[in-house]
């Protein structure tokens, strides 16, 4: 029997790794992947809770999260591709024409 907090801690660690990726990677795609990792970690937590609470609600929520993630990916990748066309780079550090 695995206590639910083990899963939650695992998800928190994964989530933190995702956060770290967003914060310090420069590659827009990798950043985006890190965000997916964050969502994934959250999903893990939900499913774990769902399992511990013997509730289906969590699983359904995860289902919607996955769907939304897909929608986000569509838009996000389109944006990245588009910006690559004009900048010839997906380094987010290049995208600082506005600041201050």
């Amino acid at each position: 029997m695995v206590p639910v907090e083990y899963y939650i801690i695992l998800s928190a660690v994964l989530f933190s790794i995702g956060v770290a990726g967003v914060v310090f990677r420069r590659n827009a795609l990798v950043i985006f992947m890190s965000i997916e990792l964050m969502l994934n970690a959250a999903n893990l937590a939900i499913v774990a809770f769902s399992s511990a609470l013997k509730s289906l609600e969590g699983q359904i929520f995860v289902f919607f999260v996955i769907a939304v993630a897909a929608a986000e990916v569509a838009v996000g990748l389109a944006l990245i591709v588009e910006i690559f066309k004009s900048k010839r780079s997906i380094d987010v550090d290049q995208m600082n024409s506005m600041k201050g």
């Binding site: 639910v4 939650i8 998800s11 989530f15 995702g18 956060v19 967003v22 827009a28 950043i31 985006f32 965000i35 964050m38 969502l39 970690a41 959250a42 999903n43 937590a45 939900i46 774990a48 809770f49 769902s50 511990a52 609470l53 509730s55 609600e57 969590g58 359904i60 929520f61 919607f64 999260v65 939304v68 929608a71 986000e72 838009v75 996000g76 944006l79 990245i80 588009e82 910006i83 066309k85 004009s86 900048k87 987010v92 995208m95 600082n96 024409s97 506005m98 600041k99 201050g100």
Partner: protein, 482 residues
């Protein structure tokens, strides 16, 4: 388990607008490229119709779709405000997107979809719906921000908004996960039911805090605000105008709905956090605004600062004796802010030139001589943003600070007024330039733009003289919320 007409009635405006948007998406294909004005008109028609339905719902109280959504005074108030914002967004965009060469029918469709997301957010009674609505309002905005591609700034704005938005969504989802873990449900009513039977759990608090991060991001509260100036600057101005009001209204509506309905039990902790956020937002927003030379960035920081003011209204949400008044004050201020904000952006749009020219504050020099009415309108908006008579901004601040003081947060109120003072400095600069500098500005004369701006100026002044009806509505709206 079947759906009844009541269920649909709860969501009539949303469904109406969604269906209309889908139809418009198709219709647009048949509208010739040079007559996209028709799309604009049609979208406005849709918004107006929906607004009519929404207004007819005043006084209705329903729950629908198995507790997923509610219809109450609050949602009606917010929906009406959102629909008006949508209408104004269309009116401001009409000439603008044509002139800047980005006229596409999808602009309006996306705007409609975004409004549907916002409305759903106001009606959500389940965290799942909150999450979905958040995405539904955001994704069109990501696209709209980048709508002026391949202009670098626009694309950058889109990407920044998207990456950071998705980042913050990650926190929201994790927050929902924790709340679910703590309260065994994502339904707001169920959560509050759980919280009332057991002692408040820290897990719930942390989950709520993470959800707060997501809302904080949407409403541009410090420290989740940093996307705001860049996105506002880079996005097409008409989009910025819509986004700065609409997204903020929706964000606050959801924040209020979620916190007031689900989390009163952890109010003690949350109040501290909200206090800090509000104070920080007012301070940082106003301070950085002073340094701006670009009117769009200036207004962006201004919108951050105002997020802080509105946040103040939510600080005492757990205190039963004052929260109704306080939240009503927040709603009123949202209206004041939206009206003023649209007006100010209208002026900005009028002065904007191709390629992002005409956006420096210095470009406003001499406006009062050449276009006195426009300058006067801008002055009214600036005064309203400062909170000076005779504008709705003053009445709003009065209402707001009163609620805050009544809640016992005098310190916060002091920060609020002091930062208002700071804000006077940068708003006045705009006035200084318009009235006390010489220059030869040119403006775009567009009927809808002019009408919108003028109407907003009139509303700003007139409502300040007879604010009681709006007051009454706002306080009515929150009565059944708690």
């Amino acid at each position: 388990m079947t759906l009844t007409p009541q269920d649909y009635q709860v969501l009539t405006p949303y469904i109406l607008l969604t269906v209309w948007a889908c139809i418009l998406l198709l219709l647009d294909l048949f509208i010739p490229k040079n007559r996209k004005g028709i799309t604009a008109l049609l979208s406005a028609l849709g918004l107006a119709t929906t607004l009519g339905f929404t207004l007819s719902q005043i006084g209705s109280e329903e729950t629908g779709f198995f507790g997923m959504v509610v219809l109450d005074g609050f949602s009606t108030f917010v929906n009406a405000l959102l629909l008006v914002s949508g209408l104004l967004g269309v009116a401001l965009a009409y000439g603008y997107i044509r002139r800047t060469g980005i006229e596409r029918g999808e602009y309006y469709t996306l705007l409609l979809f975004s409004v549907t997301g916002m409305m759903l957010m106001a009606q959500a009674a389940d965290l799942i719906i909150v999450f979905l609505a958040l995405e539904l309002l955001s994704i069109p905005l990501y696209v709209l921000a980048a709508f002026a591609r391949p202009r670098t700034e626009s694309e950058e704005a889109g990407l920044k908004y998207f990456l950071l938005g998705a980042f913050s969504t990650g926190f929201v989802v994790y927050g929902i996960a924790l709340v679910f873990g703590a309260a065994q449900s994502t339904n707001l009513a169920a959560i509050v039911g759980y919280a009332s039977t057991s002692s408040p759990s820290l897990l719930l608090t942390i989950g709520a805090a993470l959800i707060l991060v997501g809302f904080g991001f949407k409403v541009a509260a410090v420290p989740f605000h940093m996307w705001t100036p860049d996105v506002y600057q880079g996005a097409p101005t008409a989009v910025t105008a819509f986004m700065s009001s609409g997204a903020k209204i929706a964000g606050f509506a959801a924040l209020l709905r979620v916190f007031a309905t689900a989390f009163p039990s952890i109010a003690v902790d949350m109040t501290d956090v909200l206090w800090g956020l509000a104070a920080l937002t007012m301070i940082v927003g106003n301070l950085i605004a002073i340094a701006q030379t670009d009117i769009k960035r200036l207004l962006a920081y201004s919108s951050i600062a105002h997020a802080g003011y509105i946040l103040m209204a939510f600080v005492p949400y757990g205190d039963a004796s004052v929260r109704a008044d306080s939240v009503a004050a927040g709603l009123f201020y949202l209206v004041a802010y939206a009206v003023t904000n649209f007006g100010a952006w209208g002026v900005v749009i009028a002065l904007e030139k191709a390629e992002g020219k005409g956006l420096a504050i210095a470009d406003y020099a001499g406006l009062s001589k050449k276009y006195p009415a426009l300058a006067a309108a801008m002055t009214v908006f600036m005064l309203s943003l400062i909170g000076l008579p005779p504008t709705i901004g003053l009445v709003g601040k009065f209402y707001l600070f009163r609620a805050v003081i009544a809640g016992g947060f005098t310190g916060l109120a002091i920060i609020g007024v002091l930062t208002s003072l700071i804000s006077a400095y940068y708003y006045l600069r705009v006035v200084v330039v318009m009235y006390m500098r010489d220059g030869e500005p040119t403006i775009e004369r567009e009927t809808w733009l002019g009408l919108t701006t003028g109407a907003m100026a009139v509303v700003t002044v007139v409502v300040s003289l007879v604010p009681q009806y709006l007051f009454a509505w706002a306080s009515e709206a929150v009565l059944k919320l708690f």
